[in-house]
């Protein structure tokens, strides 16, 4: 049994739940939901990065999850648990098909095909009048008894899935994914079915994105196609990069930091762009390995003061 740091996870979960229980009020609740959902999308993005691919289709899967919840609740009035899982189940099917055909290509082509998929799905949402077209779908409410506990519920679901992703990453399956990223051909020579592993990874990550979308629909009560543009995936990638790609905690830290900064910046009106864009630019220039990298550098510097080689502190031009 590998060490999954269960006590640390329990401690973190306890703190998160305590925070959701101690802050009441609509603004605090929306902030906590925002952060939790951002963390889940960021972790989903990072999970696909384990096989070395950038998945812009993440936005589309968040959207499918949200519309699944929306259709089940607002149109058919199905019970909450069914509505919650309907979108993510659809995402499993769609992402398996999409992954099976597209994961044969790599790098920029995979990234851009995901991008095209996201845009096509988003525009398709606007074309269907039954789900509200351009204006979107209102009236997606969680059951009455959950109303005031929504942040706690969201936090529980998100932490559960984050731990799931962490456990999968630490398993043999996760290590095979990293092996595929490092050298696909070597993995193939030892008998790994590379495509199957990639598709499985993609489906797991997309499922989490679908759940994030489903939660988002219930939290915001109204969804519209413009919520699921490529910016969702772009921001998720920014969370991962600014937090630090090397660990799931980097993705979570980046999501917490940037989404809090983003909603703080919202208060400045047009200044939002300055703060958010500026933070991304500065973070990329000053700490290319994210918070996690910064932390590791600082620790290395203070534990071995004799050999001070702050290599990672500055971006190095490629040449």
């Amino acid at each position: 049994m590998r060490d999954l740091h269960v006590p640390w996870w329990l401690a973190g979960a306890t703190v998160a739940i305590a925070i959701t229980l101690s802050f009441k009020g609509a603004y605090a609740a929306s902030l906590m939901n925002l952060v939790a959902i951002a963390a889940l999308i960021a972790a989903s993005m990072r999970f696909v990065l384990l096989i070395g691919e950038l998945s812009f289709a993440t936005s589309a899967f968040v959207g499918l999850g949200a519309y699944g919840a929306g259709i089940a609740t607002a149109l058919f009035d199905w019970p909450f648990p069914v509505a919650l899982i309907l979108g993510p189940l659809a995402v499993i099917v769609v992402s398996a098909l999409f992954g099976y055909v597209t994961l044969r290509i790599k790098g920029p082509y995979f990234m851009l095909i995901g991008f095209a998929f996201t845009e096509a799905v988003r525009i398709s949402f606007t074309k269907v009048n039954a789900i509200g077209g351009v204006t979107g779908l209102p009236g997606i409410f969680p059951p009455q008894f959950l109303d005031s506990w929504m942040p706690t519920f969201v936090a529980l679901v998100v932490i559960g899935l984050l731990f799931g992703l962490y456990a999968v990453e630490k398993s043999d399956f996760g290590k095979t994914l990293v092996a595929i990223r490092d050298n696909e051909d070597i993995a193939r020579t030892v008998g790994v079915d590379v495509l199957a592993f990639k598709v499985a990874c993609f489906v797991i990550a997309s499922f989490c994105a679908g759940v994030a979308g489903s939660l988002q629909a219930f939290v915001n009560n109204v969804i519209s196609p413009s919520d699921f543009g490529f910016l969702v995936a772009s921001f998720a990638l920014a969370y991962v990069k600014i937090g630090g790609e090397s660990s799931i905690f980097g993705a979570i830290t980046g999501a917490i930091f940037l989404s809090l900064l983003g909603s703080y910046a919202l208060g400045f009106g047009a200044g939002e762009h300055f703060i958010y864009g500026g933070a991304m630019v500065l973070a990329m220039l000053l700490m290319p390995k994210g918070f996690i990298g910064l932390f590791a550098t600082l620790r290395a510097r203070y534990s071995r003061p004799a050999k001070a080689t702050p290599l990672a502190a500055k971006p190095v031009a490629a040449q």
């Binding site: 920029p108 095909i113 920014a238 300055f274 864009g277 973070a283 971006p315």
Partner: protein, 291 residues
């Protein structure tokens, strides 16, 4: 027949701007192996600057076409200054780092969105018509201004194509795109070539911005829409391929023209994105790609 001709003309009009735009993106990808999200802002800035500079120049007593040339040159200079700043203070650190460059240029794009909105305001800015009147080609009607736009864009494309094939700089650019390490071993100064290539790409975008300003709505966010379509164009053609960029741009332009004629604009957009997925399934590296 007349409909077909009209659609062909529309394709060429839309495609002309996409070609200039996608040539720049594909150059940057070829040389630096990054996807530049700020490219749309070079384009938007020059269109915006044309709309800012033209009225005072006209009221200073210059004729409209001359004012357009003067304002256009100043606008291109402004865009190139922005491109130089983006390269020197940022993008040069992220060469061959697709993810890093992506986040950086996206952050930069968001930042510049804010700057443009603050500088130019969110409203649509008018640019006076340069050449008035319509003409008809074999029965299909087209405005002279748009025809001129097409011809100039075609001229620039031919010039660039020739320059890449025949001049020393063009050969250096292609060598770097093919294998930058081997190119450096041959004594090609990579950093200088990369900067030149980036500025050349920015120039193409700025030039497209100047061309589009009189025939389109000029606003701070106009670049993003073109950028999305151009991404599709360069994927279809094959990343890094110059011929591919031209073919891809015409592909996107033709679907927009035909789709826009028989259905509506958003259906045409969906068709563009679905078709690119199909193309990639058949030819994963794009129609003319081999990278």
């Amino acid at each position: 027949m007349q409909t077909a001709l009209q659609l062909l003309l529309t394709t060429l009009q839309i495609g002309a701007v996409y070609i200039l735009f996608s040539l720049g993106l594909t150059l940057i990808f070829g040389i630096m192996r990054v996807v530049n999200f700020v490219h749309g802002h070079f384009f938007a800035l020059s269109a915006l600057l044309v709309s800012v500079f033209m009225p005072p120049v006209i009221s200073a007593g210059f004729s409209v076409p001359l004012a357009y040339v003067l304002a256009g040159s100043a606008a291109i200079a402004g865009s190139l200054a922005l491109a130089l700043a983006v390269y020197k203070f940022g993008l040069s650190y992220f060469q061959r780092d697709m993810e890093g460059a992506f986040i950086f240029t996206m952050g930069m794009a968001i930042l510049l969105d804010g700057v443009f909105l603050w500088l130019f305001g969110g409203s649509v800015r008018p640019v006076p018509q340069i050449i008035t009147g319509n003409t008809s080609i074999l029965g299909a009607s087209v405005s002279v201004q748009r025809l001129a736009l097409c011809l100039i864009a075609a001229l620039v494309t031919v010039l660039l194509y020739w320059a890449l094939g025949a001049t020393k700089l063009g050969k250096a650019l292609r060598a770097v795109a093919a294998d930058h390490e081997a190119a450096m071993l041959q004594g090609i100064p990579y950093n200088r070539i990369a900067l030149t290539g980036f500025l050349l790409a920015a120039f193409l975008a700025a030039f497209a911005g100047v061309l589009i300003a009189p025939v389109s709505v000029v606003s701070p966010v106009m670049g993003t829409d073109y950028l999305m379509k151009t991404f599709v164009a360069i994927i279809v053609g094959g990343l890094g391929s110059v011929r591919g960029a031209i073919v891809g741009a015409l592909f996107v332009g033709s679907i927009e023209a035909v789709g826009g004629y028989y259905a509506d604009a958003s259906t045409a957009t969906i068709a563009v994105f679905v078709l690119v997925i199909l193309v990639l399934l058949i030819r994963p590296k794009g129609l003319l790609g081999h990278a």
